[in-house]
């Protein structure tokens, strides 16, 4: 079943994520994808995440289609202007890529080429509008395409925005993304379920499927690092303590993730599991969560 069909079927969705690395070595990523392929509806491929120069999202998404996996091609506005973005989308379509996740992208200063020129010709909202335009058979300038794609566009939202203004703005922007054509949302990692539930209550009227983000906690240190450095991610102290106290970090990590997945099952339409190299743990997480 394609991701679009899964989405339209109304079933509880499971997506995962792989991040191509720096260089041409893709073996371990293909292996990771192979381990989880029968347990997920789609796999996201990140676009130079954290603004670090890496192998591209389009090429690796294409490799996933060769394996019979439906990729979600992540595309940011950071590195390409509207010419390149549109062209890459057409290229992605002919390479068998059907789903696009439109993101603004981190600023280049966050990554390993901090003096690169930031592009941001389009942002997540205008990127979605442009995808809609391509789908309708026209480019952004209104020229007719000879052969049009039929992408399923998605977007992200950060439910853990850390103050009222930031959260109101996230929700306003979410509405704009929906108007611009977003058919599903994937969220930043959720640890504080009560906070996430409040967010869900505010946006459930939008009637667009929300796939809650789950990042496998690998250690207490990682949790503290995210609390300090990743916007919108907050790992509650008791969870950090669980990681500190455990003798078996992998087991505990899986247990925590499964607990979160179980609760998200009642709140939103799917889970997006970001395993950050621990992809082989994803089946155990899903088993424990009863999915």
């Amino acid at each position: 079943m394609s991701f679009r069909e899964s989405l339209e079927s109304g079933k509880f969705l499971v997506t995962a994520e792989v991040g191509p690395g720096k260089g041409t070595d893709v073996e371990h990523l293909l292996k990771a994808a192979d381990i989880i392929k029968d347990r997920v509806d789609a796999i996201n491929v990140t676009d130079l995440q954290s603004s670090v120069m890496r192998l591209g999202s389009m090429a690796f998404s294409h490799l996933l289609t060769d394996m019979g996996i439906d990729p979600i091609f992540q595309m940011t506005g950071r590195d390409r202007n509207r010419l390149a973005l549109q062209s890459d989308l057409l290229s992605a379509w002919v390479l068998g890529i059907r789903n696009v996740l439109a993101l603004t992208g981190d600023h280049p200063t966050m990554g390993d080429h901090p003096h690169a020129k930031p592009v941001f010709d389009l942002d997540s909202v205008s990127l979605l509008e442009m995808i809609g335009k391509l789908n309708s058979g026209y480019d952004m300038a209104g020229n007719e395409l000879k052969g049009a794609p039929e992408f399923l566009p998605g977007a992200v939202v950060n439910p853990g925005a850390d103050n009222e203004a930031a959260l109101d703005l996230q929700i306003m922007k979410m509405e704009k993304k929906i108007e611009a054509g977003a058919k599903f949302f994937q969220t930043q990692a959720v640890y504080d379920i009560d906070l996430f539930e409040k967010f869900i209550r505010r946006v459930e009227g939008f009637k667009v499927p929300i796939i809650g983000g789950v990042i496998l906690l690998k250690s207490a240190g990682m949790a503290r690092f995210m609390n300090k450095n990743v916007a919108g991610v907050f790992v509650p102290i008791p969870l950090i303590k669980e990681m500190t106290d455990t003798k078996d970090k992998v087991k505990k990590s899986v247990e925590i993730a499964a607990r979160i997945v179980k609760r998200l099952k009642n709140l939103c339409q799917g889970v997006h599991i970001m395993a950050l190299g621990w992809e082989k743990m994803i089946p155990a997480v899903l088993d424990q969560a009863g999915i």
Binding site: H107, D123, S124
Partner: protein
């Protein structure tokens, strides 16, 4: 105002190495206000140049002058024409526009920039200036409570913030507030939060170099 900073002394001294008669030309406009290239700074720089040459045992003549606005031909012409035989090089303490105006008007004289031009900005406090306007040619300030997202959002986003802000600060710098959160607070204060719900904007970037032609003014000039 246009905000600039004087180049490092070493770089300046290197630029003028070949010359003995130097016109140090300040500007009484923006760079005076931001204490980078006004009459006071002309005096200081000239003194530093003479001290350096004295130390090296080399001759130098510095002429100190300042134009009203160095980006205005009428402001420069009388000063530079009057002294045309007295200097070999112009060390301009104006912004890049001033330097280029001198170069255009006096193509036979070499002009060197004494400043690095940083941005169009405002004084935040004594000794602190911040960028305010990218001169993008399509002002959106009316919709954003007078806070420019094109300039103050590190990504220049037009349709609301990215998800990168933390505790109200931009992901690029903890010293920089998230422009969109500032816009939100300002619009809320003005009871205009609905401005945020406008339809998505795409910026049509201007082609550089920019050019403004006002036919009404041109006609007056020629008749």
């Amino acid at each position: 105002m246009i905000v600039g900073e004087r180049k490092p002394m070493e770089e300046l001294l290197g630029m003028i190495e070949d010359f003995e008669r130097i016109l140090v030309l300040g500007c009484k406009g923006c760079v005076t206000v931001c204490c980078a290239g006004g009459p006071k700074e002309v005096k200081t720089l000239s003194t530093l140049i003479r001290m350096d040459r004295k130390q090296k045992g080399r001759k130098v003549i510095t002429i100190e002058a300042s134009t009203e606005l160095q980006c205005e031909p009428e402001s420069i012409r009388p000063i530079l024409e009057k002294m045309a035989n007295q200097y070999d090089v112009v060390l301009s303490m104006a912004c890049g526009a001033g330097v280029q105006t001198v170069a255009k008007l006096f193509p036979d004289k070499l002009v060197l920039p004494a400043l690095n031009t940083n941005f169009t900005g405002i004084a935040e406090e004594h000794g602190v200036w911040t960028e305010a306007c990218l001169a993008c040619g399509d002002c959106v300030l009316g919709r954003t409570a007078g806070i420019c997202p094109v300039t103050l959002c590190a990504k220049g986003l037009l349709n609301g913030p990215c998800g990168g802000a933390s505790e109200g600060k931009c992901e690029v710098s903890k010293d920089q507030p998230c422009a969109w959160q500032e816009i939100y607070h300002a619009l809320k204060r003005l009871n205009r939060l609905h401005y945020l719900k406008q339809k998505p904007q795409v910026k049509n970037w201007p082609v550089h170099p920019g050019r403004v032609v006002r036919e009404d003014l041109r006609e007056v000039e020629t008749t």
